[in-house]
Structures are given as C-alpha cells and as structure tokens.
C-alpha cells in the first residue's frame, strides 16, 4: 500500500466510517458532529405566512422563517388548493425576487426613522417658533418665495435629516390643512397603485386622500398597462384567465409577453401544457426568454405586431369564413360580436383628403355610425323605434331581411321597460352576417331596392411618407374596397362583418374596389403586405394564422394569445390589441376555457373589489370620490404639455371630417375634461370649498352656480391654465410606489417643473404655432409647483431621495393585509413575522396618525365645509347614454356658448359635506352609506345590511364620539374583515344577491353559479390559514363554479349575459366621433410614431450612420428579470446574479458602430434627458433596437452623465408623455369613464434615442 494513502488509512482507523476498498470513498455513519452547523442553521422558531405587495401581480403565498425574533429567509408555500387530478398544481409560486425580499428587512437601504429635508425642517421650525401654529407655519414656509424655492431646489441632493414621528406627521398634517383651506382639497393628491396585492395598505391611504376630498391618481392607464382596446372591445377593464387555464389551451401564442420573466410563478403551466401537445408560438423581436419553449418564433420589427395580426386575420377570414364558412365561427360572430349590426355609410367628407372613387368611377363612402332604432320609423320596427333608449338600440337584419333590434343592447340595460331583455338570446332571429347572405332575399317592407354594393374608402397609415409630405399628411393613404349594401329606412347600410372583410382585404366576387390578388399580393391586409412591414415571412404569418384557427375548430375554441407589455406599451397599442382581439373573437375563442385573450401586464384582480372600493374610496361616508386619470395629471403638473404641441390632426385619418384641425392633442384633453368625458382634478381655478360657499351665499344650487360662473367666464377649468399657481397640485403623498424612479414618464420634467430642482431636460418648449389653442400660455414656466412631497417606503428610491418628508414603512412581512390576483383564484393573507422594527409603521398606522393630527388642526382651521365635486360621465351607469351615436352636435360651439347641462355635455356637479374635525374618527369606522344607500360594482347593486350588522359584531362598534354606533375599522384586521364581508367573491350571500339582481335585468338564470356558496363567509382567519378559493360573483365575468378554471367572459358566452358595450356584444367597430376622426373604426395597422417627423428635435432612425460617435436606435424598456419594476434592482442578491447596475442591451452591430465593447459605459441621450449605463452586447438583440430594462432607478452605481453634468437618470429620463385622443373619448357606451378603466396611457415604446460610448473614467460626484 502506497504511503500516499496513509492519511486516509489513518482516518479509517480514527473514525467509525468505512472506506471503500480502493480508498476512494469514505462512507460514514454517525460521528458527524462536525456537520451540526447546518442543522443549527436550519432551525427556526416559527414560520409565518405572508406575501409581497403592490408592484407584482404574482400574489404568491410565502413562508417567512423567524429565528430569535429575526427574519431569516423565506420559501414558498405549497398548500394551494388543488387544481384537480389532471392538471399541474399552483405550488410552488414565487420567483427569485420574492425569495430575496427579506434582504430588505435589515439592509442598509432600509428607512428606519422619519426624515425631513433639512432645509425645509429648519424653515418650518423657525416659522413655527414665530407663529406657534403648524398650519400658520406651513403657510409661511410655502408663502415666502425665497424660502420655498430654497427647499425645492434642494430636492434630490441629499440633506435628509432625522425627525420624530410627531414632528414629521405634524408637518404633513399642517400642509394638508393649509392646502385644503387655501387652495382646495382637490389640490391634494395621492399616488399608490395596484390595490389587489395589499388591499388595506393601499386602501387606508386612498381612504385618507379621498375622504379629505383629495385626488387619487389612476395607475393602470398611466403605466400603459391598461389595454384601452379592452374597454373598446369588451366594455370591461381587463378580465383574463387565471394561469392554470393556460393548461387548457391547445394553441398558445405568447405575443409581447415574456412569461418566464414576467409571470415567473406560473410559467410552468405553459411548459407543462406543451406535454399535452399544446403548440407554442412566440412573437418577439429579440430572442426572449420564452422563445426557448416555442415551436415557432416570429420576430417582427418592434411595434409592427398589428400588421402581423391583421394578416393572420386576413387568412382566417378568407379560409374559415368566406371561402368556407365555418359554422362554429359564424354562429359565434352572430351571437357574441357586433358583426351582424348595421353601419350607415356616409359620403366622404369634403374636408377629408379629397374624393375617392372606385375603379368604375363610382363615388366611395366612408363607414359612419351604427344604425339604431331611433333612425328608423315605427313601421319599420313596430313598437321599437319609439321605445326608451332607442338611440342605444343598434339594428341588424334577420335572415329574412327584416330589421331587428336584438335583445341585450345598451338600450336594454336601463329603464323599467326593458327589464328582462338585457340578454344575448337571439330567439328566432338568425342575423345576417353579411348583406351578401341576403342575396335573393326580398327586403320586404323593411328596405327599399335590391341588394347592391358600393365602394368604401378606408384609411391606411402604413404608407412611407414622400419627401414633400408634411407631418400632417405623412404616412397616410386611402384604400378603396367594396361592400354589399342595402337601404334600410332610407339609410345606406352594410354590416360590421362586411366592413371587416373590406378592411382585411378579403375580396368576394362582384364587389368594387382594389382587392389583393392573393396572399402574395402586398396590398393592405395580406401576408405579403405584413412581410414588408414586419419582416416576418408571409408564409409564416399565413401558417400561424391558419393553425390558430384550425386549432380553434379542432378544440372548440381553445386557442389563446398571451399578450403583454411588448405589444401594449405603444402609443397605438389600442389598435395593435384590437387586431389581436379580432383573432380570438373571429375564431370563437373568447369566453372559452383555454381560449381567448390573456393580457398580463400590470393587470390585477382585486377579487373582493366591492368591499375594497367601499373602504378605499371612503364611499361609506362621502360620494363621489375624486379619482383622476394619472397620465393627464402628470402631463399638466410636470408641464410636459409645454414641450409637446403635437398637432392632433397628424394622427387623424385622411378621410376625417377634420374635427382635430388646428388643435393639439392637449386641446383634446381640455375638451374631454370640459365635456365630463374624463375626470379633471384640480377641476376649476377656484377652491371648490369656496364655490360651495358662494353658491350658498347666492342661494343657488351648486350645479347652477357652477354653470353660471362658467358661462360668465369667471370660472375656468384648471386644465385650461395649468401653470396658474391657483391650479397647482400642492401636496402629493406617495406610498407603495416609486413614481420618480419607475413609472414617471418624462422623469426630467418631473424634476424641473413639479419639484423645481436640477434636471436634464434638453427639449425646447413649443413654438407659438404649436401651442394649444384652448390653454393659457405663460411665458415663464413654473418650477416647483409642489409644496410637499411625502413618501412612505421601507427602502430608498428616487422618490424618497427627492421627497420632503420620508416616513419609514413596515415591510410586507410586518403587517396584516389581503392579497389576490388574476393569476390564481385565491385570496390569502399578509401576516407579521415580526413587529415593525425601529420606528417603522404600517401604512395603516401612519395614515391614521396623520389623520388624527389633521382632525385636531381642523377644529381651528377648517371646521365642517361643503365641497363641490365635478364628476365625469361614468361607465356602467345611465351616464353612458349622454352622447347618442357618440356624435357631437355642439362641437363647433365654443364651450362657454354651449347650452351647458351637467351630466350631459359637462361633468356632473355634486355637493358633499366634509366634516374635517370628525375626519379621523370617520376613517376609523364604517360609515352609514354602505348599508344605507348600498354598493354597486359594474352596475350590479348590492345591499349589505346583514353584512354591516355582522361587521359590527365581529369588529365591535365605536362606543362614543362622532361615529358612535358604527362598526370599527381602527385596526388593519378590521379593514380586512370589512373588505371580505362586503364582496361577492368572499361572501356567498352577496354573490347570490347580485346575481339575482342581474337575473331580473337579463331574464336569464345566473344565481345558480353562486348558490352552492351562498352560506360561505370567507374571513380573515380563513385566508391566514391557507389561500382560499373565491366565490363566483357578478363582480367578474368568469366562473369558478364547480371548481372550473377562471376564464373571462364565460358567463357572457354560456349564460348569454351581454358585454357592457353598445351592442352588448364584443365590438370590432367603434363609431364615436373621435374614433371616426382617427380612422380607427375598425382594427387597423398604425406603425410606431415617427418621432423625428413629429418632433424635429428627436433623432432620426432614417439617418443611422454606419460608424461614428453615436448611433440612433429604438429605445425599448421591457420588464427585467432581476426586478419587479424598480424594486429588487437595489437588492444585493439580484445585483450579484446580474451585472450589478444599470445596463443597456444592444446588438453586436450597433455596438460595433460606436466602438463599444461589452460592459463599457455608454450614455443614451435624447431631447428628454440622459441615462448612463453599461452596455450588454448580445447577439440575441436585433439591430437598431436597444433595451434598457423598465424602471432602472438611479440609486445604484449611476455616475455623473457627460451630457448633463448631473447624476445619470432613470429609464424614463428618455421618455415623455404623449396623449392619444381616442383614449380621451367618453360619454358614450363602453367609451365612458371609470377609474383605471379608460384614460390616456403613459405609453413609452415609440421613443428613439442616440447611444454614445462615453469616457470610461466615470465620476460619481
């Protein structure tokens, strides 16, 4: 035996182990005390169930381990209720980001104490010493321009100093009280997104802001995560399948949604469904993470997805509905879409881009408005034309050619006369899908003359602009195609389906116009056409379209498209999405388990939505709350409107009547606010408390007083003059959010104008000829509009860095709360693993502490006041019948000369009482309106009298004071119980009650969907014990009945409950005036904005040099693998697993152009600002496009930028807000406002930047 084995041999004798014959393996039993370290490390005292709130839709349930009172780590819970024996389960749900969360608890970026900006604190203390009163002190500090500007200029430059909670809360309270009294409660704003993933933490602050009369800002539209196509098509915000339903899909397209990265916990349902033969297609311009799972990968140029979808639709319409009519598809379209409804054809307006003629010289028409019962005489529609709401009862033709108003239209939704008729039961009616179907059918008494056809002119926006085309006409053209028509009641009409075939270029014999000869003909709509635009081979587009449809045939509708930010964050995403939704509707996949759309970005499902809305809105005490479209708020508050000046008619159709001529998109915002289509806060250039006092003094009802003042020109909308100090937002509270490091499009404008500190804005303000005509222009742009920025957070972000007051928040492992999502059908709990450490407080405790201070100050400074609230025309209420046909009859009349009627052509005006001294007490108790007046969600009324009584027993009643006798809400757990008790999804009695009411309206059985759960009351203890499945409820459109997977619109399809739209069906066609103006009546391809053309100071993609100091690229901001928005980007684990700081991903070709090697420092610069980052050079990136991941904040490893001499910016330093008028249209059917349902999106995908290799010697200060 060699001496070399001596050591091991020795070991063999010394230890009880057994060494293998050849001395290579040592087996050991017992005697292993040397490894006890690991056993000790694993031991822990308790495991607590909690989750992660806000910015992630995961809603994963986690085990948080605690040892010696210290949170050690977390792993996922695995106890989700079963999905069933033949499906994978939800366990374990989580991702690396969530797994790294506990790092924050004791990290050096944890905010442990209250902080106040030092300059401000000194000024405040001095003023308070002088005045002896916090409110007077605040008035002094903000009233002295030198003092105010000094602390505003100091924002974001360090110098935060510790304060006590007492003092910090006092400053915040005084600012609120002073602002409400001096400027008005609507000058107070709150920003906190996504309630579903921590309902109470969101709700308590929203309750605080809204009960004060302040303005809560929307987020879903602001994030550009709201797919505007959803309200347009479905009349619903977003309703999508739970992730376990992906398993049921037999064909799955992931289109601009990178599931492994952005839906990490659920991606396995996709990978596993492949094993049951699900075919997977990925559409992505880069080799995205999900591409590895795909059977086919289509890589269109960024932002051209709409063209690809239209071409797929072209193939489906051609092969499955025209050459051969697939019965399943046709029947679906007749019953569940607006396809058979009649649209009036109008002559091309004279103001359009000239007359357009078909080949034979015949005049062409343009598609106009839906034909409604009001357009027809009583003899054509006996007994219908004169019924109530006839303007909202669209008409179709029966198979015998007679006009019919089918059940289920918007007109049937309201009024006693139509009770029981709001349903999709067609009875004996067999709608004509195409008027060509009526060939040979006599029109009988209904119409006049035989079937004929006419040419229609349709806009196109894909034309390459000529050198002489100016911005107003560039990139536009007209295509002329024919449709079969009839005359009905004197109106020339065709069906939506016939218009769809024209739009998609699917020709039929005998129709006039220009039609493609085949798939290889690059005429608009064909596969060859899209190839020129997208780069995707025509044959591939045709094949995927055909497969999608054939799979729908083979599987009864189980073809699904998962779609997301990659296709939804564009300026024209509503058109992209409408082209997607057309695919799922025309193949009959919507409302089918395993089929339809699955939109996943920023979506959420606050499943107990009714209870949350009561609590968060303070609807139990005062209605209506002030809720504002976030994008418009920031656009005005940050003065981005001054740099925009985008002429609205650059977006218009060449066939448009010209309603946008001479106006900017900002002017359309003004009109939308004036008409009450969209909310607008601050509303008027006067304190609404003073307006109420004036009306009282004048003895006039508030609404009449407001109209008087408006017409007299003494009162103006704040939106008309956002730079008037009277119209500034003054106090902003941000919690559960990082607006300045994440969602703030136009970040540098925020810094410059809202905050009044240093910024890297390079853009010039609009020249006089590009300024809005309906807004006042002040030569000097304000700097530092905001008096106070308060942030509650547990970590340092850009928002805390720039805040005046930073309050230390409890983390998700230190509080009670509720979580739900649309990714799974459960409600589960946050629970404190430890108490909030140091001086941190839960959001719940913090807001109540400030509220108590406000109420105390209010006794002297505010008292009980009345407040005039201007409220927009609301969806799911009769307001949506304010504008028949979406036609403006007074568009040419200046606002003040119109016959102003609140609730019709201007906002509703409501006076409410604000009892400020009782404010804190009211916040902490459930008010009387909940049971007294009731609740409503999406038009479904609920009467929770029994629930409120029971809440009084569970939570206890307030014994005395101004809210004596009301159920207590003074603990977070009380709020949790209230939310659960007041929602149908968590309270079977309310679910049944709501369904019974919808049954009366629809005349269809529905309550059986919830009857099995009528006795169930999900309590907070239930959801703390285990994720708890929700109850099927009329608050949502799907069903969990019988343990099935949730899929949107299943109730509509299976139970014939109408969609909340004009026709009650899914809409291909939209006829609001503004949609007509934009040429977007039908799904249409609109390319990414040509930024250089629209904004000459924007770099030109057309002028990319081969080599040089800089390269012009498309700038995309997809979601990151290593963060949830800005959170976790500062987390050491995530940084160690990636590249340790901000990056810009670029292709080898673009890197070579500017001589950049991997990991070298680069700067991206455009008119909006600059970011500094290190290059990641990878061949998975397409040339001409760079990625800087979404919400790259400036807190970690960001040097000073060469371009600005300031700290490099965030990803949004290169973006800016641009408004699309179609998002501002309102007052009409599904295009009516609801919070986070409709509004202009803060889109950011169309941006272009230059990238430079910068000096590699970086400085940090």
């Amino acid at each position: 035996m060699a001496t070399e084995d001596a050591l091991v041999r020795l070991g063999r004798h010394l230890r009880r182990g057994e060494v293998s014959e050849d001395l290579r393996r040592l087996y050991l039993e017992g005697g292993r005390g040397g490894d006890s370290f690991y056993r000790d490390r694993w031991s822990h005292d308790k495991v607590v169930r909690s989750t992660h709130g806000v910015n992630c839709t995961g809603s994963c349930s986690w085990k948080v381990y605690v040892k010696d009172g210290i949170i050690t780590w977390e792993t996922q819970q695995t106890d989700y209720p079963s999905v069933g024996p033949d499906s994978p389960e939800y366990e374990p749900r989580g991702c690396p980001r969530g797994a790294a969360f506990s790092w924050y608890t004791y990290s050096p970026t944890r905010v442990r104490y209250p902080y106040v900006r030092g300059v401000l604190l000194e000024a405040y203390r001095a003023a308070k010493a002088r005045t002896g009163d916090p409110v007077h002190a605040w008035a002094e500090v903000t009233g002295d321009p030198a003092v105010a500007s000094a602390y505003k200029r100091a924002r974001g430059k360090g110098g935060l100093v510790r304060a006590t909670w007492e003092e910090a809360a006092e400053i915040v309270a005084a600012a609120h009280v002073h602002t409400i009294r001096e400027h008005g409660p609507d000058r107070v704003a709150g920003f906190s997104p996504i309630p579903a993933m921590s309902m109470v933490s969101h709700g308590v602050g929203a309750r605080f802001v809204q009960m004060l009369g302040g303005t809560m800002l929307s987020f879903y539209d602001w994030y550009a995560d709201l797919p505007v196509a959803s309200p347009q098509v479905f009349g619903d915000q977003t309703d999508v399948p739970e992730s376990a339903d992906w398993w049921n899909a037999a064909y799955l397209i992931m289109w601009g949604s990178n599931i492994p990265v952005t839906r990490t916990p659920d991606a396995h349902f996709m990978t596993e469904a492949r094993y049951r033969g699900q075919k997977v297609v990925v559409v992505s311009p880069d080799y995205a993470d999900n591409t590895k799972f795909a059977d086919a990968w289509l890589a269109p140029h960024p932002g051209t997805d709409g063209a690809l979808a239209l071409a797929m639709g072209h193939v489906i319409l051609r092969e499955y509905l025209v050459d051969r009519r697939t019965e399943r598809f046709a029947a679906y379209l007749k019953q569940y879409s607006d396809s058979p409804f009649l649209v009036r054809l109008d002559p091309v307006p004279s103001s359009g881009a000239g007359q357009h003629a078909a080949d034979d010289g015949e005049e062409a028409y343009v598609p106009g408005k839906f034909l409604t019962a009001a357009d027809l005489s009583d003899d054509l529609l006996p007994g219908v034309a004169t019924e109530a709401n006839s303007h909202f009862k669209p008409v179709l033709l029966d198979a015998d050619g007679s006009p019919v108003v089918p059940n289920g239209t918007l007109g049937h939704r309201y009024g006693d006369a139509d009770e029981g008729r709001w349903n999709l039961d067609l009875g004996d009616v067999d709608p004509a899908l195409s008027l060509a179907d009526l060939q040979g059918v006599s029109t009988g008494s209904a119409g006049e003359g035989p079937v004929e056809s006419v040419a229609v002119a349709l806009p196109r926006f894909d034309v390459v602009p000529g050198p002489d085309d100016d911005a107003h006409t560039g990139g536009k053209g007209v295509v002329v195609r024919g449709v079969p028509v009839r005359r009905v009641g004197g109106h020339l009409v065709t069906t939506v389906f016939d218009l769809m075939l024209a739009q998609y270029g699917v020709g039929r014999p005998g129709l006039p116009g220009d039609w493609p000869a085949g798939y290889d003909d690059p005429a608009p709509g064909t596969p060859a056409w899209q190839e020129e635009i997208t780069g995707v081979p025509a044959a591939a587009a045709a094949r995927i379209g055909r497969e999608f449809a054939q799979n729908a045939v083979d599987s009864d509708g189980r073809s699904m498209i998962i779609m997301g930010a990659g296709t939804n964050h564009w300026f024209h995403s509503d058109t992209i999405y409408r082209a997607f939704l057309a695919l799922t509707t025309m193949t009959g996949c919507q409302g089918v388990n395993g089929g339809g759309w699955a939109h996943y970005v920023g979506q959420e499902k606050c499943r107990p939505v009714t209870g949350w809305a009561q609590y968060a809105g303070g609807l139990d005490w005062v209605r209506p709350p002030r809720q504002m479209i976030g994008t418009a708020f920031w656009y005005l508050a940050t003065d981005q409107w001054r740099y925009d000046g985008l002429p609205a008619d650059t977006l218009a159709s060449p066939l448009a009547p010209g309603r946008f001529a001479g106006r900017t998109t900002a002017d359309t915002l003004v009109e939308s606010a004036q008409r009450g289509w969209m909310p607008s806060y601050p509303t008027f250039d006067r304190n609404p408390l003073d307006l109420a006092d004036e009306a009282r003094a004048a003895g006039r009802p508030p609404a009449e007083h407001v109209v008087d003042e408006l017409k007299a020109g003494r009162l103006r909308f704040a939106v008309e003059d956002p730079d008037d100090p009277a119209n500034f937002p003054r106090v902003l509270t941000v919690w559960r959010a990082n607006i300045l490091g994440s969602s703030g499009k136009g970040n540098e404008y925020f810094l410059k104008h809202l905050l009044g500190t240093d910024s890297a804005v390079f853009a010039e303000e609009s020249a006089p000829e590009r300024r809005p005509s309906s807004m006042a222009w002040r030569d000097e742009a304000p700097r530092g509009k905001l008096d106070l920025l308060v942030t509650m957070d547990f970590r340092m972000t850009s928002t805390t860095l720039f805040s005046d007051v930073v309050l230390p928040a409890a983390t998700w492992y230190e509080k009670h709360d509720l979580s739900s999502t649309d990714m799974h059908p459960f409600v589960h709990a946050f629970s404190p693993a430890i108490d909030p450490p140091w001086q941190t407080k839960t959001d719940f405790a913090a807001f109540h502490a400030i509220a108590r201070k406000i109420s105390a100050m209010a006794i002297d400074h505010l008292g009980v006041r009345h407040d005039v609230v201007a409220s927009p025309l609301a969806h799911d209420t009769p307001d949506e019948m304010a504008v028949p046909h979406g036609t403006l009859t007074d568009a040419d009349v200046p606002f003040r000369e119109r016959h102003l009627v609140p609730g019709v052509n201007m906002p509703k005006i409501v006076e409410v009482e604000r009892d400020y001294p009782a404010f804190a007490a009211r916040m902490a108790a459930l008010g009387p309106l909940t049971d007294g007046v009731g609740m409503a969600t999406k038009g479904v009324p609920f009467s929770p009298d029994a629930e409120v009584r029971r809440l009084g027993e569970v939570n206890g009643l307030v014994p005395d004071g101004p809210v004596a006798g009301r159920p207590r809400l003074d603990r977070d757990t009380h709020a949790c119980e209230a939310i659960l008790a007041l929602s149908g999804t968590t309270n079977g009695r309310l679910a049944v009650q709501g369904f019974e009411r919808v049954e009366r309206r629809t005349g269809r059985p529905l309550a059986d969907l919830a009857r099995e759960d009528e006795g169930r009351r999900i309590t907070f203890a239930d959801v703390q014990a285990r994720p708890t499945p929700v109850i099927t409820s009329p608050e949502w459109s799907g069903s969990e009945h019988g343990g099935r997977r949730y899929s949107a619109f299943v109730v509509n399809v299976e139970r014939l409950k109408p969609w909340h739209t004009l026709t009650g069906r899914q809409h291909f066609y939209l006829d609001h005036d503004w949609l007509v103006e934009l040429g977007e009546q039908l799904p249409v391809f609109r390319p990414p904005l040509d930024m250089h053309r629209l904004f000459p100071d924007s770099p030109s993609l057309a002028e990319r040099a081969e080599t040089g100091a800089e390269v012009v690229v498309r700038y995309l901001t997809p979601h990151s693998k290593w963060s949830i928005h800005s959170e976790y980007q500062d987390n050491l684990f995530m940084l160690s697993l990636s590249r340790g700081g901000p990056n810009i991903w670029m292709s080898p070709g673009d890197a070579a152009r500017i001589g950049v090697a991997d990991n070298e420092w680069v700067e991206a610069v455009n008119r909006n600002g600059v970011v500094v980052a290190r290059a990641v050079v990878s061949h998975r990136m397409p040339e001409g496009t760079v990625y800087m991941h979404h919400a790259t904040d400036r807190t970690v490893d960001v040097p000073i930028a060469e371009a600005s001499g300031l700290r490099g910016g965030i990803h949004n330093s290169l973006t800016r807000i641009l408004l699309k008028p179609s998002h501002l249209a309102g007052g009409y059917a599904q295009l009516s406002y609801a919070f986070n349902y409709l509004g202009p999106t803060g889109n950011q995908r169309d941006e272009v930047t230059v990238v430079r290799r910068r000096s590699q010697e970086v400085r940090y200060e």
Partner: protein
C-alpha cells in the same frame, strides 16, 4: 453485491425557465454569511456560456475529476495522493476569486445619510474583499441570457469541443439553462482528494459532506471536484459544499432548491446501487459507454434479490419502499429520459438531467417546419435550435445518440398527448416509434407534466 442507497436528483431542463429562484432560496438558507459571499451551492448557468466559476468544465485547465490510466485504473486528474502530499503546502490548482467573482456591496448608506450637496446621492459599488471602490466586471451569473455573448460565448468549453460552428447571430440564437448543485457522486473525486479524510459520503443516503471539525483547509477538494461544487470559506478556512439540505431530508422535506423550484422541474428520490461495481463502471474505457455503465450500477428496487440484498445490508424497509417509489428510478431507468452531467469526469454523478427540446432553427427566416406535425416531428429533432452536439457535450461525453433518443421521446409524448387532448384516438405507433407503449407514454406524461408534489419528491 453491496446494496447502498443514494439520494439523487433529476432536473428536467426542458421545463427550466432560468429564474434562479433555487439559487436565491439556497443562498438565503445556507450561504448568506461572511466568508461565503461568493458561494452559490446552487447556481444556474445560461448555456452556451462560461458557467460558474467560469470555464470550470475545462479540465485541461482545472484538472478536476478522474482519468483512466493506460492500465485501466482511475486516478485523480490533479495527481495521486503522493503528489498531493508532496505539494500540500503549495496552492492547489483552483479557480481564483475572479473566476468565481469578486463579491461586492454598495454604499447604500449614502442614500440616507448623504449631506446636502450638488448631486443626487448614489450607492456606488464597494468590493467585499478589499472594501474599496470597484468596477463590477464579473458576477455569479455574468453571461445570463447570453449577456456579453460576443465577448465570452466562444470560450464556452463545451462549444470549443464541438465540430460545428455556432455563430453569434440573432436568427441562430439558442440558449437554455443549467441549474447545478453538488452531484453527490458515487465516485466522488473531492472525497478522494481530501488529505484530511474530512470529506465523506453518508452511508445511508450517499450525501457528500465536509466534516467541519476535520477539515484542515487544504482545498484539494476544490481542485478534485470537476464541477467546482466544493467551496472554500474564507472566514473559517474550511471547505463547504451543498449538503443536499440533509437537515430537511432527514425530516422528510425536499431540498430547498427542489421545493422552491417554480418550474417544478426537480425530482428527488432514492436509488439503490451496487457499491461493489462503482469502480468498474467508472473505469470503462470508452467514454460513450459511461452512461450505460453507470445505469448498470443501479439496482432494480422491485427485484426480490435486490430487496433481499438490501435487507442484508441493513437498509430499512421504508428506505426500500422509497427507492421503489422513486421518480428518479423511473426517469433514469424506465423512461430513459434523464442523463448524467459530464459522465466523462468518471465521478458517477447523481444529479441527472432531462435535456431540453427547442424550436426548429429556420423558423425566423423562412416559413419554418412544423414541430407539431407527427410526420415531421422526428425529422425536426436534428434541426433543433440547440445543436445535439452541444447537449451531447454536456450529458453523454459527445455521443449524440442518447440525447436524440430522449428528445424523440419527449416529442413523441407531445404528439401522442395532443391527440388525447383534442379527444382523438391517440396513435400507438407514435409511442412504439420511440420504443414505448401508449400507457407508458401517458405514465411518463403524468410524471413530467402533471408532476404533483408527492410524485416529484
């Protein structure tokens, strides 16, 4: 026959989404402490890529694992014990910290405590080794998702051994993820490398551990392990490694990395093997035979003779039952879809992998093939984006045939189950074409797709 039990793992790479949750939960539970900052018992590599530590697979460089001598004996590539004794005070051949990565933190405190100044405060990076400012130039996962592919990808040792050229072109892009833990080998080179006898395999479950009391910090184990899954704790001066979460395994819980795997791709179970045949299997001459040789060491837990032999060795009844219920046995032996990582290292690793399917390569530029059509399904296997040769370089010492056989089985399962899914009669010939029966395919499908918690562990 000497029956022993080995706790083993199979990872289905075809389901791995590369999320790194396993890495983070493992890090948090085990190595989130000083001296271990750079250590990830579990890491996930993007392939093609350099791995962690970078190029660890290049044994010409790092000298890990075993080599077969001309006489048919095994010896450590880094040299026998004599050499080790002779050079025990010299630094062993092992990756530098820069090959793992220099761990860092940030000046987070500045975000809160920065005094009023001219600029927005920032947290700049500081080395955790030196405490000084640093520019971050490598990390635990630097080339994630092909980051920096133009700079590093061609240095991937697996790619270097391939005959066909893999270009860095968008249209040709492929990648997949390789999560790695300690292999808990049947023939561990680390144990044999240890001059102190501090490393051992637990007799009852084969978990390879370092006795923290016995370790003298010679670091020969780091060299010996070809997977570089033994690490040196700079604070304690001892070696540490993945423990297969034995404190959890002992109480019936799966490892942290397994239970927290949101891709649901990890399977854990006991395998019975014949310890007497380990050396023989590790010593076969042809590297392509190592897979079969290792499989032949495993013992059928349902074979009465094996059960009897196991009882004679004192293996408890519940241990035998666990081996019979083991998903590992099914995946390795019944369905033959799992393959070992780098069998050519001759350590007989016990964490096996199901190789990933991938889309056919020409789909972006042309109309593409239809991977779903049963007729083209098998033909398409050779045209997959991930070159078979690359997978073979990882799992079969370069032999593409076993890899292709696995992928054909997976593809056949998809094809067969699509018929079931659509309510059609499944095609038995699809199963038989890959040497399986329909019921077998459905059984495998349940294990791979439905994959309930109790079936995975």
């Amino acid at each position: 026959m000497k029956v022993m039990a080995q706790m083993s793992m199979v990872m289905n790479l075809d389901k791995c989404i590369g999320c790194h949750t396993c890495s983070v939960t493992c890090k948090q539970a085990w190595t989130n402490r000083s001296g271990m900052e750079y250590v990830w018992f579990n890491n996930v590599e993007t392939r093609p890529g350099l791995g962690y530590p970078r190029t660890y697979q290049d044994q010409d460089e790092w000298h890990g694992g075993w080599v077969r001598t001309r006489r048919g004996r095994l010896k450590l590539r880094a040299g026998g014990r004599l050499k080790k004794l002779a050079t025990i005070f010299a630094s062993p051949k092992m990756p530098s910290i820069q090959d793992y990565y220099e761990p860092w933190t940030y000046e987070y405190d500045m975000l809160l405590s920065a005094p009023q100044g001219a600029h927005t405060p920032v947290a700049r990076p500081k080395s955790l080794l030196t405490g000084k400012d640093m520019k971050i130039e490598w990390s635990a996962n630097w080339d994630d998702d092909l980051a920096g592919s133009t700079a590093t990808m061609q240095d991937d040792p697996v790619l270097k051994h391939m005959s066909e050229h893999v270009a860095e072109e968008l249209e040709q892009t492929f990648m997949f993820y390789l999560p790695r833990i300690c292999e808990h080998c049947l023939n561990p080179a680390c144990v044999a490398s240890c001059p102190s006898g501090a490393m051992y395999k637990r007799a009852e479950d084969g978990i390879v551990l370092v006795d923290q009391d016995a370790c003298r910090g010679w670091r020969q184990c780091v060299t010996g392990c070809p997977y570089k899954k033994v690490y040196f704790n700079h604070k304690t001066g001892k070696a540490e490694k993945c423990t297969l979460c034995y404190p959890r395994i002992e109480v019936g819980l799966p490892t942290v990395c397994s239970e927290t795997c949101v891709g649901r791709l990890r399977y854990l179970g006991l395998v019975l093997y014949d310890a007497d045949r380990v050396t023989e299997a590790a010593s076969v001459e042809d590297e392509h035979e190592l897979l079969a040789a290792q499989r032949s060491v495993f013992l059928d837990p349902d074979d009465p003779e094996v059960v009897a032999a196991a009882r004679r060795e004192g293996i408890p009844e519940d241990w035998i039952e666990a081996a019979q219920a083991s998903p590992i046995w099914k995946l390795i032996n019944d369905y033959e879809v799992a393959l070992p990582l780098h069998p050519e290292y001759r350590t007989l690793p016990m964490v096996w992998y199901i190789p990933p399917l991938s889309p056919v390569v020409d789909v972006v530029a042309s109309s593409g093939n239809d991977g779903e059509d049963p007729r083209t399904l098998f033909a398409a296997i050779s045209k997959l984006r991930i070159p078979l040769e690359y997978l073979a370089g990882l799992f079969t010492a370069g032999d593409t045939r076993p890899v292709e056989r696995v992928l054909r089985r997976l593809a056949a399962m998809r094809s067969y189950m699509r018929d079931v899914n659509l309510g059609n009669t499944p095609n038995e010939s699809t199963a038989s074409a890959v040497g399986m029966t329909g019921p077998q395919v459905e059984e495998m499908y349940r294990l791979l797709a439905i994959a309930k918690y109790d079936d995975r562990y």
